[in-house]
Subunit: 624 residues, 2 copies
Amino acid sequence: MSVADLLLGKPLATSDERAEEIGASAGIPIFGLDALSSAAYGPEAALTLLIPLGAAGVAYIVPVSASIIALLAIVYFSYRQTIAAYPGGGGSYTVASENLGAYPGLLAAAALMIDYILVAAVGISAGVGALVSAAPRLQPHTLALCLGILVLVTIVNLRGVREAGVFFMIPTYAFLGSLLCAIIIGVTKTVLASGHPVAVAAPPVNVAGPATVAVSIWLLLQVFSNGCTAMTGVEAVSNGVKAFREPTVRNAQRTLTVIIGLLAILLAGIAYLVRAYGIQATDPNLPGYQSVISMLVAAVAGRGLFYYFTIGSVLVILSLSANTAFADFPRLCRAVSHDGFLPHSFGFRGRRLVYSHGIYVLAVLAAILLIVFRGVTDRLIPLFAIGAFLAFTLSQAGMVGHWRRNPGPGAGRSKFINGLGALTTGMTLVVVLVAKFTSGAWVSVLLIAGIMSTMLWVRRHYDRVAKEVDISTPLQIEHLGPPIVIVPIESWTSISQRAMQFALTLSPEIHALHVGTEEETTALRDDWKQLVAEPVAKAGGVPPTLVNLVSPYRLIIKPILDYVLEMEAKNPGRQIAVIVPELVERHWYHYPLHNQRAELLKALILLRGSRNIVLINVPWYINA
Amino acid sequence: MSVADLLLGKPLATSDERAEEIGASAGIPIFGLDALSSAAYGPEAALTLLIPLGAAGVAYIVPVSASIIALLAIVYFSYRQTIAAYPGGGGSYTVASENLGAYPGLLAAAALMIDYILVAAVGISAGVGALVSAAPRLQPHTLALCLGILVLVTIVNLRGVREAGVFFMIPTYAFLGSLLCAIIIGVTKTVLASGHPVAVAAPPVNVAGPATVAVSIWLLLQVFSNGCTAMTGVEAVSNGVKAFREPTVRNAQRTLTVIIGLLAILLAGIAYLVRAYGIQATDPNLPGYQSVISMLVAAVAGRGLFYYFTIGSVLVILSLSANTAFADFPRLCRAVSHDGFLPHSFGFRGRRLVYSHGIYVLAVLAAILLIVFRGVTDRLIPLFAIGAFLAFTLSQAGMVGHWRRNPGPGAGRSKFINGLGALTTGMTLVVVLVAKFTSGAWVSVLLIAGIMSTMLWVRRHYDRVAKEVDISTPLQIEHLGPPIVIVPIESWTSISQRAMQFALTLSPEIHALHVGTEEETTALRDDWKQLVAEPVAKAGGVPPTLVNLVSPYRLIIKPILDYVLEMEAKNPGRQIAVIVPELVERHWYHYPLHNQRAELLKALILLRGSRNIVLINVPWYINA
């Protein structure tokens, strides 16, 4: 257990639970990493689509970013109310299923799951992408780097939420500090230069040619859709309210305020500076690619120590933004499994009080996405945002229902705010869906439908099983006559003696089976009389019957299984007890020296048997 | 089962055995493939070492080949006698262990096993090597090609020996026919040209430079050692005498005569023509490499249809020569396992009457060799010949012992022939060992030692187990009091009712275990009285005890296991029956929906338990 202890930390008792709670400053890295780090890829995803417009296209980033920030403000006020109304944790799933019904709830859950899986995959791939564009020699190892970081993040999360917070606090604040610094310096320079600053290190000029297409509403909608990926992750706080220390609602709201405020500042600052410095995105598929953040920081402050520190923190933060998904996905799965729509194992807490199964499943699914898309962010972006905005919409719509059912002072105002939130996020969802459908959003739609049907199927199965096994009647004492006991015997050894001894305590009706040729059984039959039948008769018992099973194809297990099933069919309602004598090796290296027929026989009887067949394992341990 | 039927053929009954026997013409491909195909790499391995001698070195191939053919003749007469003396199969293992004792027998067995594994690996790698030198584009896929062919050969052999014979007959005769043709044409041309024929397609002239070293005895010994790889596989017939149709000895001897006669002709012809045409080997590690057979056939007949047909048959025959190993290795393992030196499973016949385990083991070991040496023949050659010559020597020495113990007419002459065989092969073994020790033979020596110690260890283990379990005393009827029954209960369902019903038939002393918090057990305890205790008491039984096990770390299985072991320690000599109620899924896709605690509990009790603990599995099948 010491390797597990080292990797995962010592096991925590259920009674240690309260100690694992967090305050606002630790909450920002845990619940805000995803939302904040989106600032590093959201504007870039939008600007990439503006490349065909040439230098003139850059200016469009300002109105697009303004709309996204406005949307963000509406969503902020909506979620503030959700936190207050659901201090026990108001994730989209909870809010939608409580207020809109089971199906919308499951839809929200499926949408969020897709979102979290993509957050984990995109965060890591964007981080590695940035690293690779800084050190092109690492390019061939993109996928391996992605998977390595995934494993690291998984282990950190299996250790539990508080240590994860400490682990992520330093890079988060380094990222925020350096990016905000760059923005402040840039804005100051721009204002001093009356809006026309001179870049310290100029962005590449030759990469973007002149305009090749004219601007259109359709193009701007696509730009907006790509930019909306910057908003993923803002629902994280409302999901995890319970993880905060008292006063939980205040702490959670404060955390949400800080996260969304910072995100808005980052988005606004980046948009302002991109236009001021005339920074165009570069095509990630061409040589000479540089990320927007990299060009922006270089333009503002040159390629000095500060540049490398900032880019380094971007790399780390992007890779670690996957952590938000690891904090939330398992909690969501637990809530859904609690309602019977996912396997119960999602509700078991591991050694460190985290829902380990959810962490494993998320890690595996993110790994599959990374492998399928070879760790390239560009290919993952179109799948993104659908899940997040579907969940936003359902959550806000659910809150409208909540206020309708809980009228009180201020409910009208609250209902209006949530209604506005639902309307705007719903419209955004439609825009994203239409703009991105053919380029990948259809995958998300399919996955959401698939997850929903799986959840419904799981619940249906659990309901049926519960119906089958639930009884409230007292124990029925009947059919308690002795069972028919069947014992396969190879030869007369201590092992078979032990099995026969136990068989005699069970029932007077014992069938000893011997598989082999006629001669082999005849040889055993002579001994049998003297070794078994006579001693039993002498002790006043019924001598066991020796049955010979001939096997032309040298099979041992099949004839025994057939005999058991035949006895069961011939004796309806009677218990059949199959005793399997088994030689058990004490050492793994003895395992290949003995046939594993007993294991196979047990597995097959269990697979093919019925409720009347009971399997009894009489082990014989060898010391040799 | 239809996929298995398609791949492996329909199962054969034990009574079908006689039908699987073969005559001399089918025996040549089955037992001779390895020996005959060695002609394609043995001379080449020898010539490669002559490269540093330049054009003058080629002449040395004639005396070296002559010594090898002389050795072959001695070995032929020796094995002829072995076949006659051991019509039931006179492999080196049988002959050495019967006449020299168990240890020399095991040494021979270990040597042969190494030999067979190398035959399988080298045959395939040499075939692929030839294919790759004909089609250099396939070079990067060498290892994959090797493994693919290995799988194919394995499947063919799992189908059984007769079909393997038919499958290999055509390529064997194509190989023999075309190579003999080439030799006849070449010899005729050489004689007509008074020993100085003109090559149709001249071998590359610039590949071998002038002499860089002088000839030495040491060099010639190494050349001889490499050339001896051409003799591997000649013992195959004596091993498999039993597989021949009546009259078995005559058929086997005739097959041996044909195989060795053909091999001698091939070796002599190749050596003669190599000198006549002045063909030097080319370095396989340099570009422009061509195999000796390829240069020879091109020189004799030009690069026409005949050339490509011959080279094609060489490719096929080399790849398939591995088949000899697949015919013999399983038989050898069966014989050794019959004496208790290898796991019994090597003696079980599969669906097609072949010893499937031996085939699997050989396939895996050959695959490991191929993977470790990346499918390159050159690296495998130094490991070769040690095993074969060690087995030859021990077999012939054993035959000397046989004639000493069975004096009769002609025994003196026979003893002399086998003695000569033992002496010459023994001397060759020493030469090969010394010449090749540092370049790889040490690996073979280590492996032989390793296999021998494993075999001795297996036998020691079986002896100890037999001593532990063997009894000849009648069944002891004692301690037959009712066991202590332990039943883990999660909640009151049909599943637990079923387990309790069976428990009541076993014993009046039942402990129902519930793992959980104090409150959970209290809730169950109230129901328990009414649902279980009272009905049992009413029926005149002893009410089962409900035991609460508190588990701070949320573990379920460990507390149950601890309780079972504690009860066993407290009640020495008493039987403990652990009843494990288990919900069994009818469909694999329901498997993840239910926890697999029952499986884990069963495995742990079996692992940690003792002879007094019996495990009872009460399955509950769900129809949902």
